[in-house]
């Protein structure tokens, strides 16, 4: 067992605050606090209401951003929310968790002359939160019942988005979820300071308001259900299982207590209340260069770890974490070391650290070790070196490059079985891409059922 302890964090700020961090809280309040009405009015009036706007093109779900911002500016935030949700039923999560700095906001024309994009994410949150705070009927109506039934595997963003759109098109949907709660990575995988106040659960509740969707919990693919059986009892099947497995370092002692996957660490943290009950090491190493690595490092720091060192085998410019996320790590006091790869786990009965070898690119551009090593002390090591698909129960559908192969209609090589989200290769592994996959797959399933 790990010897990690929950830290007694004093309110005077013994842990380090970062951007948007308020010393009076536990370090897990909103990273970007919600807009006041004044902020929303001011920011919405910065939008130029562009035509065929680049921000819309940059959004994987093609939200009509200029239209929704105009509706905020004319005092119609609920109308704005409907514009958002009609394209992206998880617009509330995406407003919080999207890397807008590399999507809509990067494309904003305000960057050209002023170098400051309209804060589209914050405006989107303002509108969706405004609508969800009101006790109104679900904003979308279902088409007449088709009598067709669809099985959706996985209640994550892809599965729920597919279920919502399919229900809207008049089909009846049963969602099978392996865990005890819905939301997938929205509930278990996003950083706590991006998804405060149980938002993931409130969003699922809101989404289910459309009707025609039933969720069965604790039903895992391979254990409780099989694609073959679902194919027999449903008119179509959608697979939105995400990436169920993680990559290993391939080092001796990787099972040692104190060594964990970053996503498991975040999952535990997301389910712990209060957050200060979550055990964390004194000296923590995070290995990886993606947003999950940053999320784990920043949250470890906010939980009270004395030293957090993020080690990445290449340079800052190669990290898949956005510049904003990298800065977030630094302002939270995370030490970032580039060009080093783990070579050995150091333990003497308990975990004491890790040995790294410095790396560089050789003449051919290949990453190689330099032979020079150094050691970082640690009582906790979090691996964020990527996830991979669990192929065992995918009923022989074709896999390529670690992803389920689908055609342009999101159909797998198994007829009548569709897939979307992180388990297929459609774009970046982002919530917003999964929502788009689910929505488009539902439209494709609808066409498939009509032609059947």
């Amino acid at each position: 067992m790990t010897t990690l302890q929950a830290k007694q964090v004093s309110k005077s700020g013994a842990h380090h605050g970062g951007i948007g961090h308020n010393d009076a809280d536990d370090g897990f309040s909103d990273l970007h606090p919600p807009y006041s009405t004044l902020q929303a009015m001011a920011e919405s009036n910065r939008c130029l209401y562009c035509y065929d706007a680049p921000c819309v093109t940059a959004c994987p779900t093609s939200i009509d951003i200029p239209t929704f911002i105009r509706k905020i500016s004319t005092g119609n935030p609920d109308g704005a929310a409907k514009t958002i949700l009609s394209a992206n039923i998880m617009g509330g999560t995406c407003a919080r968790a999207c890397p807008t700095e590399v999507l809509c906001e990067e494309a904003c024309v305000r960057n050209v002359a002023e170098d400051t994009a309209v804060e589209i994410g914050s405006l989107q949150r303002f509108a969706v939160d405004h609508l969800m705070a009101r006790d109104l009927p679900h904003p979308f109506k279902r088409a007449p019942e088709t009598g067709k039934s669809i099985a959706v595997i996985g209640a994550g963003p892809a599965g729920l988005s597919c279920a919502h759109r399919a229900a809207m098109l008049g089909h009846n949907v049963t969602v099978f979820e392996a865990k005890a709660k819905p939301g997938g990575l929205n509930e278990y995988g996003l950083a706590a300071y991006k998804m405060t106040n149980d938002f993931a659960q409130r969003e699922v509740e809101f989404l289910l308001g459309i009707g025609g969707i039933r969720i069965e919990y604790n039903k895992a693919l391979g254990r409780d259900i099989s694609i073959e059986a679902l194919k027999d009892s449903y008119d179509a099947v959608f697979v939105g299982v995400g990436l169920g497995s993680t990559n290993n370092l391939g080092l001796k002692g990787e099972e040692f207590p104190g060594i964990d996957d970053a996503i498991s660490f975040i999952e535990k943290l997301r389910q712990t209340e209060p957050k200060t009950d979550m055990p964390v090491g004194d000296k923590v190493i995070v290995i990886g260069g993606g947003n999950t690595a940053i999320d784990a490092a920043v949250q470890a720091k906010r939980l009270g770890a004395e030293e957090v060192t993020l080690v990445y085998r290449r340079g800052a410019e190669h990290m898949s974490a956005t510049e904003f996320e990298q800065d977030l790590a630094k302002t939270n006091g995370v030490v970032v070391r580039y060009w080093a790869k783990p070579v050995a786990i150091k333990a003497n009965g308990k975990l004491i650290g890790m040995e790294f070898e410095k790396t560089e690119l050789d003449a051919s551009g290949k990453l190689v070790g330099t032979g020079e090593t150094f050691e970082v002390r640690a009582d906790q090591i979090l691996k964020a070196i990527g996830q991979k698909i669990k192929t065992d129960d995918l009923a022989g559908m074709e896999i390529a490059g670690g992803k389920i192969v689908v055609d342009e209609n999101y159909q797998t090589t198994a007829p009548g079985v569709f897939a979307g989200g992180d388990c297929i290769k459609s774009g970046e592994d982002l919530t917003v891409q999964s929502v788009e996959d689910g929505k488009q797959a539902a439209i494709a399933i609808d066409a498939f059922l009509k032609s059947a």
Binding site: K71, G75, D78
Partner: protein, 425 residues
């Protein structure tokens, strides 16, 4: 979603949003795009007697705020510069292809009976739902005895309206110019002439700006400029008053009103309808952003209606008219005072300086011991003018709170300090 269908001058419309007679309704290409975007109807750009007019190049001037946002446009463009037959053919095609959408034919002619009647009949034969009489253009056409040259003479307004009413059997909208001293004179003239509705306002006569390097009014045409018609959100208050006057005056209140003047958002449209418009026309907002502005007009009005429990636009049409009063009917015993919420205050100091310099010295500014400044209302000095409330940049920071009083309502004619009342006693 609330039902936005409406009826004006006997014409059913899918929604109350029409495009006004102007460049956006100049030809079939634009009109088709407008209908596809969701507009309920269009008033086709004003048709005249052939040969068509010839326009100059350089036609619009602009009034911007400091953020380069357009508050108003003025234009010196004339009526349609395409042959009448081309326009009428395109109207016929649009009517056939979009049978549920409203098309009104706008027209103007010199002050001759035959000219008005012949043109009105030709337009009516193209299948339009109604005819709008352009008696308003304050530039160019008026120098030829048309547009506002007719609209500024009530006798001519009545005459022209009657000629067209006699000539056709479809509804007639008389479009009024705001460039007059009293809108009721021309509205009443239109009513006497038999108009089914009035459309107002046409553009306000204006010079919008001067190029101070070349010393020429804009828009410049080869070193010279002329006055033009001003439109856009800046003219909305002028239009609202004129609409309300017509809706509340017994001699004109039976006229249907097609409200025009700077309508940019759904809320503007609601205000026009609450004050008497049965439907509205929009031009400048579409010229600034494209026909898609109708999205927010439709969605915003419908959302508001749902929130308020209105199920048809008739339920709020003219709902504010009974509350429009003469100054002499206002309650002199009503008292309201500014209240500043210090929690919302950003300490910009503008309420203080506005009140101190230009009003009643009723907002004090003091340094707080912990730093920062505190702004407080001196109730004894506050006359309830609303100035601070309007200039405060933070919504809901300054509110106006009515003071509780036991005094019964009292109008100025009843007021003890009114010398006219004393003289009457």
């Amino acid at each position: 979603m609330a039902d936005l269908s409406c009826k004006i001058a006997g014409i059913d419309s899918l929604n109350p949003f029409w495009l006004a007679s102007a460049p956006p309704t100049d030809k079939k290409y634009n009109v088709v795009r407008a209908f596809e975007a969701g507009w309920g109807g269009v008033v086709w750009k004003t048709l005249g007697i052939d040969p068509p007019v010839v326009n100059v190049s350089s036609r619009y001037g602009a009034h911007h705020d400091q953020n380069r946002r357009l508050l108003g446009i003025n234009n010196i463009e004339l009526i349609s510069d395409r042959p009448l037959s081309v326009n009428l053919q395109e109207i016929r095609e649009c009517r056939a292809e979009y049978p549920d959408h409203v098309i009104i034919g706008s027209m103007m002619a010199p002050i001759e009976e035959r000219a008005w009647k012949d043109l009105a009949q030709q337009i009516a034969e193209s299948g339009v739902h109604g005819i709008e009489l352009n008696l308003g253009c304050p530039h160019g056409m008026c120098e030829r005895g048309m547009g506002s040259a007719i609209g500024q003479v009530p006798e001519m307004v009545e005459q022209v309206t009657r000629w067209v009413k006699d000539a056709v059997d479809i509804p007639v909208f008389t479009k009024l110019t705001p460039n007059i001293t009293n809108i009721l004179w021309s509205a009443e003239a239109a009513y006497k002439g038999g108009a089914d509705a009035v459309s107002l306002i046409n553009t306000v006569n204006s010079i919008i700006s001067v190029d101070i390097d070349q010393m020429v009014p804009e828009p410049m045409v080869d070193g010279k400029g002329t006055h033009g018609g001003y439109c856009g959100s800046a003219v909305k208050p002028i239009a609202l008053n004129m609409v309300a006057e017509i809706a509340r005056t017994p001699e004109t209140k039976n006229l249907h009103i097609s409200g025009i003047g700077g309508i940019t958002t759904w809320k503007d449209a609601v205000e026009f309808m609450a004050l008497g418009s049965n439907a509205v026309q929009v031009c400048t907002a579409a010229m600034i952003y494209g026909f898609r502005v109708v999205d927010d007009l439709i969605d915003g009005m419908s959302q508001w209606m749902d929130d308020k429990g209105y199920t048809s636009v008739e339920q709020f049409t003219r709902a504010a008219v009974p509350q429009v009063a003469n100054w002499n009917e206002l309650n002199m015993n009503f008292d309201t005072k500014a209240v500043i919420n210090p929690d919302n205050c950003i300490e910009c100091g503008r309420c203080h300086i506005a009140c101190e310099d230009t009003s009643h010295q009723a907002i004090t500014m003091t340094n707080k011991p912990e730093g920062g400044r505190l702004f407080e209302v001196v109730d004894e000095e506050c006359v309830g003018c609303n100035l601070c409330y309007h200039i405060c940049p933070v919504p809901d920071c300054i509110t106006m709170e009515p003071v509780k009083t036991d005094k019964p309502p009292m109008t100025w004619p009843e007021h003890p300090l009114n010398p006219m009342r004393l003289a009457a006693e």
